[in-house]
Symmetry: C2
Subunit: 373 residues, 2 copies
């Protein structure tokens, strides 16, 4: 095995796949990257067992030859050490010859680096196959959908509540996450009718994984029984699915509200940030008191003192209502909407309420209040 | 007690003193800041028992009134909560009236914040007195001296080796730090003759503490039996001294060398960074092989492989010499010198060697080598 490669492109690919390379207790070899060179490309695979990333360096990029002098083959090399060596070298091009499947000899007239490697066959089998149900999305839509929902997934439980649920219905794809106290749901409309599917993918791992996506691209999802494969231009990401029935959330989201507060995201966020500082031992809880004449956010604690602040810009319809909630939940919900005008809709003091954007009904954030003291 | 203050200046002073405010097991009240307002200034004191910072807000700054409407008095208020409240408010000016020594009421027509406070008398006595031996230094000299020495102090031991030793001799002030394997020494020449002193101050705490200093200022040191007080324009910092005899380091530093390598700091640092990646199980150790014809840095390990790299720019005088050392020690020593041309001077393979600047003999870095394998 041998190849000569543009150092910068090589490093970029190593960093992309290396992000997930880390040894698991069952498979210490996952500390390595698998480098496999074909006649027309280099593939670099990194994995931690739950997420695997394959980065592809083609022979040409923008008509410039970035990979040449190829002798096909595959080897494994420690991810961290390879990254550090390639990052610190100063040459523009690196020749990477493997001797006896055991050693890479990188050298010029000033230095000589001999890096131990392992035969490529020792790596675990990772199936990046493009099979199963095919869904094409814009990268922007996918990233938004994940950012607007994944934060509501549970971080404590191990089972399906730590997952983002992705399901199809007609020509819509729904993204849902809930930890029991709050729920986020987003839908994306696509052109063709989709086959039925409902899959669970760990929300934290999926959020991290899609950070590899740059927003100009299209993304193709391949959904099979065990895996979700995301295919980008020169990157393929494989997520292992979590088995289990996701709770039925369709009937949880209310539709008839008796109280409605329309207000400015920016002002409400700032007021919440200040007033919550006084919540003291009742961590993160504030009270919202709404009536025709004023909307007040307040909190109170024995330790710290008390605070109250009025909103200056709002429209409120409904009777007077007092409701208390966790500021973290409401702030994250507001921020996810990325809209300046937002709507909080209530059914009553102890009923879940929604936080939505005034101009976009594809996202809904549902939050359970806490008892007012 | 009452005052009206420019919010930005107030926040700056709170942040400066708040940096060290944190409760100690013996004194939980150190989680608070002491705010004491006089006819002509506000003083804010924070402390963790080992370091105390007093920030002063005068009535006027650049002819602008930043503090007014004063009723003298003192209170204690939780540092973290006060910081967060003042940081998040949007008014340019804040009125801070204390009621019954128990409550600060900050309000306008839109909000009302009532912050619990404690009587100022509950705070521990901290003696910022300007007494003892007086040494005046430029801030630049003090900062350089600490940055060029403190990193060599031990981080493991509890006693004097974790300290920076500061001592006088004639019209020189010496800064020394050592962990037993390396030693850093810097001298500053001042104009007048100084009384004899030798004090130990925790190196890590002192390094952190002087980050408050902006480089335009003069610094006056007041050295007493128990404390070192640093006086700046509107900040006074008190360090508690560590009791104990600092080791006599005068006879440790060699003066006659048989081998001398003059080279470029930047190139040597880069070569060390790359070659050390191959040190594997012999963490951080590389070998330097010097002769008239070439200077080679190399390392080798069973895990990773081996590497060797030649320096391109150097002057070497002496017989052929092989010496192995910890890259962290040598790199930190080189960086501390802030000079492009540096000199490594050796007495023999197993004798301590020095790293010095070609153009500045006020700093000396001494390093013990390790056995070459």
């Amino acid at each position: 095995m041998k190849f000569t490669i543009n150092r910068e492109e090589f490093l970029k690919a190593i960093l992309t796949s290396g992000k997930v390379a880390s040894p698991s207790p069952e498979d210490p070899i996952l500390a390595t990257l698998k480098l496999e060179v074909f006649e027309d490309r280099l593939e670099i695979i990194g994995s931690n067992g739950e997420i695997s990333i394959k980065s592809i360096v083609p022979k040409f990029k923008d008509d410039k030859e970035i990979l040449r002098d190829i002798k096909v083959g595959s080897i494994l090399v420690n991810s961290k050490i390879l990254t550090d060596v390639i990052r610190n070298l100063e040459d523009n091009e690196i020749t990477f010859p493997v001797e006896d499947n055991a050693l890479v000899r990188i050298q010029n007239n000033r230095f000589s680096y001999n890096l131990n490697v392992i035969r490529g066959e020792e790596y675990r089998d990772i199936d990046f196959d493009e099979s199963g149900i095919r869904v094409e999305l814009t990268a922007r839509d996918l990233i938004d959908a994940v950012n607007q929902t994944a934060f509501s997934a549970s971080i404590k439980e191990r089972a399906v509540l730590t997952c983002l649920n992705i399901e199809s219905n007609g020509n819509k794809v729904y993204f849902t996450a809930t930890d029991g106290a709050r729920l986020s749901k987003k839908d994306i409309t696509i052109e063709e009718e989709l086959p039925k599917f409902s899959i669970n993918v760990n929300a934290k791992i999926f959020s991290e994984g899609i950070k590899t996506i740059t927003t100009e691209e299209k993304v193709i999802l391949f959904i099979s029984d065990r895996n979700l494969v995301l295919k980008l231009d020169n990157i393929v990401i494989l997520f292992t699915l979590t088995v289990g029935d996701y709770p039925n959330t369709k009937n949880i989201i209310p539709h008839n509200f008796f109280y409605k507060l329309e207000t400015q995201a920016n002002e409400l966020l700032k007021v919440l940030t200040r007033v919550v500082l006084f919540s003291g031992e009742r961590a993160n809880i504030v009270k919202l008191t709404m009536s025709d004449s004023e909307v007040v956010v307040s909190s109170k604690s024995l330790q710290v003192g008390d605070a109250s602040e009025k909103l200056s810009l709002y429209q409120y319809t409904g009777e007077r209502l007092e409701i208390s909630f966790n500021v973290k939940y409401v702030s994250e919900a507001i921020r996810s909407l990325k809209d300046e005008t937002i709507v909080l809709s209530f059914m009553g003091e102890m009923k879940p309420f929604t936080v939505t954007s005034k101009n976009d009904d594809s996202v809904i954030q549902l939050i359970t209040p806490v008892r007012t003291y």
